[in-house]
Symmetry: C2
């Protein structure tokens, strides 16, 4: 199930796109779906299902976590959001333009960035022998400002085994 509508930008356009995609795919537009999509589309945080659930509950106290999950996967199938693996819980991304991520190794903060340079690089030949590359996604991992301030105080507490 795949919409073929053009990608949009601002939240208003995203909502319109969302509604059109649902209609196009014969999926019913419900209050829950609207609120859930809006939450992810507006978020900069790449939230996990639990976070979306908590946020959505403020506006819709009766939603259940499983509806959030079901809706999130449905939105993914309709190409309205993306899901980003993640070590523990899955996180979601409402930004559908090609982009890359900075990820904090300490707190998991995740931010989008764009890069023409990265886009211009061509895929190594060895990769072409394995299959057809469709997307190139770069992850820069490190420590965010907030966490590096903290660690300056607390110093090393990392070794736990």
């Amino acid at each position: 199930m795949q919409s073929t509508l053009p990608k949009q930008d601002g939240i208003k356009e995203k909502m319109d796109h969302f509604k059109a995609a649902l209609k196009l795919n014969g999926v019913k537009l419900t209050h829950q779906r609207m609120i859930i999509f809006k939450e992810v589309a507006e978020s900069e945080d790449h939230p996990n299902a639990e976070s979306v659930y908590k946020a959505v509950r403020k506006k819709l106290p009766m939603v259940s976590l499983d509806t959030v999950y079901r809706t999130l996967w449905m939105l993914q199938d309709l190409d309205l959001i993306k899901n980003l693996g993640g070590k523990d819980r899955v996180r979601f991304d409402g930004n559908m333009k090609p982009h890359h991520h900075f990820i904090c190794n300490e707190c998991g903060l995740m931010r989008d960035f764009f890069s023409n340079e990265f886009h211009q690089i061509e895929i190594p030949k060895e990769v072409k022998n394995w299959g057809n590359g469709e997307t190139v996604h770069i992850e820069i991992k490190g420590i965010c400002i907030a966490c590096s301030k903290k660690s300056r105080v607390k110093s090393k507490k990392k070794s736990q085994l």
Copy 2:
């Protein structure tokens, strides 16, 4: 807990490095740990815990899955292997040299590649405002040769919602 020994290459060197790292960190060298590490170190597949478990059982029929998990996390803490999130189950990588991945969206096949070009690119300024980037990891996702052959036969069966 972190070893500071130099990184090594061939399986023999990896095993030596492994033993040295364990000793250096006061971790006992057991038969299980040896077999488990060797399995990941020799694998090209980026296996998950279950796969490692199955492979290890051939040589060591009595190991338990939880020992595999415990060992895998321990190896990660000692910087002997890396863990790669993954949508469902966690996968492990015995290649400790900086490298990137090609990943098949269909079957999950994962292969390592190196790229000087990618390494030379500088980190965008916006990213520097968020924190300190330590590693740059590129994921090229697409369809592997084997899967594209299959889909040529079966054609589209993807839409499920």
